[in-house]
């Protein structure tokens, strides 16, 4: 199985060097070949399991509670402006 590393890296927003691209291509192919094994399992009509708790639609009362202050929330950001996160133009 060959994987288009460049395309997937773009989907994952992951900067990858040329060297890494080559290495990942062979390592990921090896792993994907291995997981091909799953094709031998017959799963026709088998339900999926995405989680095992059996819990569904867990909700809480719609009540405001104490939360971080604006200053606390921004305390780990490298770039802020007037109490907001500062990001590069995206449009």
């Amino acid at each position: 199985m060959k994987i288009n590393v460049k395309h997937v890296a773009k989907l994952a927003n992951l900067p990858i060097s040329k060297e890494e691209e080559k290495k990942l291509e062979s390592q990921l192919s090896e792993i994907l070949d291995y997981v091909e094994k799953l094709n031998s399992v017959i799963t026709k009509g088998v339900e999926i399991t995405s989680q095992i708790t059996g819990l569904e639609n867990v909700v809480r009362e719609d009540k405001t509670e104490s939360c971080l202050t604006q200053k606390e929330a921004l305390s780990n950001a490298k770039n802020t402006h007037d109490g907001l996160y500062k990001v590069k133009k995206i449009l």
Binding site: L14, I31, V35, N39, T43, S50, I52, R60, Y85
Partner: protein
Amino acid sequence: MNYSAYSIHKLREGLKKKDFPSEDIVKDCLDRIKISKLNAFITICETEAIKKAKEADKKIKDGVDLPLLGIPISAKDIYLTRNIRTTAASRVLNRYIPQYSATVIERLEKAGAIIIGKTNCDAWAHGSSGENSDYGPTENPYLKGYVPGGSSSGSAVSVAANMCLVSMGTDTGGSIRLPASFCNVVGLKPTYGRVSRYGVISMASSLDSIGHFTKNVDDSALVLSITAGKDKNDATTPEIEVDNYKNYLTKDIKEVKIGLPREYFSDGLDKRVKEKIENEVKILEAKGARIEQISLPNTEYGITCYYIVQPAEVSSNLARYDGLRYGNDRAHFGNEAKRRIMLGSYVLSSGYYDAYYKKAMQVRTLIKKDFDEAFKKVDVIIAPVSPTLPWKIGEKTQDPLSMYLSDIYTVNVNLAGIPGLSVPIGLIEGLPVGLQILGPHFSEGKLFQVGKAIERPKI
């Protein structure tokens, strides 16, 4: 005096009788951490821990009685700790100071525990050996040059090398049970949802289990009685009442039905490990347990299923690290995280979702059903933790697939969401070996009961 070589129970007794103060215990642990070359810690909370110990001593003097009052503990560096740097052992978070603590940390501190430091681990909990940390590998305390197992490497070592009494770890595919087995300590992976994940950096959200390392089974039961239970901040913690685990510690194992799954004892297992487990099983039989051979037919698909589901969830969880709100940008991810983000993004991408992710979720159902069926016949299952003994540092780092395969006996437990307790059963050529006891959902009490029957009194 080596206070930290004792159990929590013994230390609490001594503290209550004023035989020694908490300050001495904490300083003894700190000294051990500072002279150690095992690289078990990323951050040491020296000043704060000594201050807390002094406060604990004052409370003890005033007659305050809390289950962990004055007891030093550590936490894997993916537990958020308010005002204490939390790195996930990754350069992405090398300067991240959390504004709040994980629910579990709050519960332990409320019970009187003192955080002595944050332990090293495979970055983002990705790994089976403890080598994949941006802060350098952790070493096995039993034999120089060997891995301690991962990903909760530093946590296992911190308890094994008497640097604290308890360490909190996480187990997504074996990351508590494997290092516990490699370091001769008791490691518990509770039922998925039994312990809150709130404030623990997510790896694979449908698999992540919050557990701990201790020196013995009694201490493991005590810690779970503090950490377990509903948390309004984690929607996957059910309203199921927390068992009184202490009651199981004095029960014998007469008539307890123990299953041995044949798929876990096949050719891939190191013969010496197999013999050691079989020997333990004989002892249990002599104590009155009923042993049955069972089968978990879909076992062999576990690792493949896991290495689709887990990277898929990893790629989604690690998408939040954009370097804008906290941390450094995505170029700072290490090789293993990059590999898993790529693998996960690929199996979830358009055109491949059904073939990989959906298929894996169906196989997950089959694996879970295997356990459901088995637990209709037996109370618990005994199995090896790792197919091999601890390996040499560097041996598998260039071959990701062979590293992944070391989780072959542990991942199915996470896919099924059941609990597992890793208990030490001795050494082979100087390297520790453990076995795991598995039970149905929320059967932790039973695991402690059987664990007690296996454990040799060390302390």
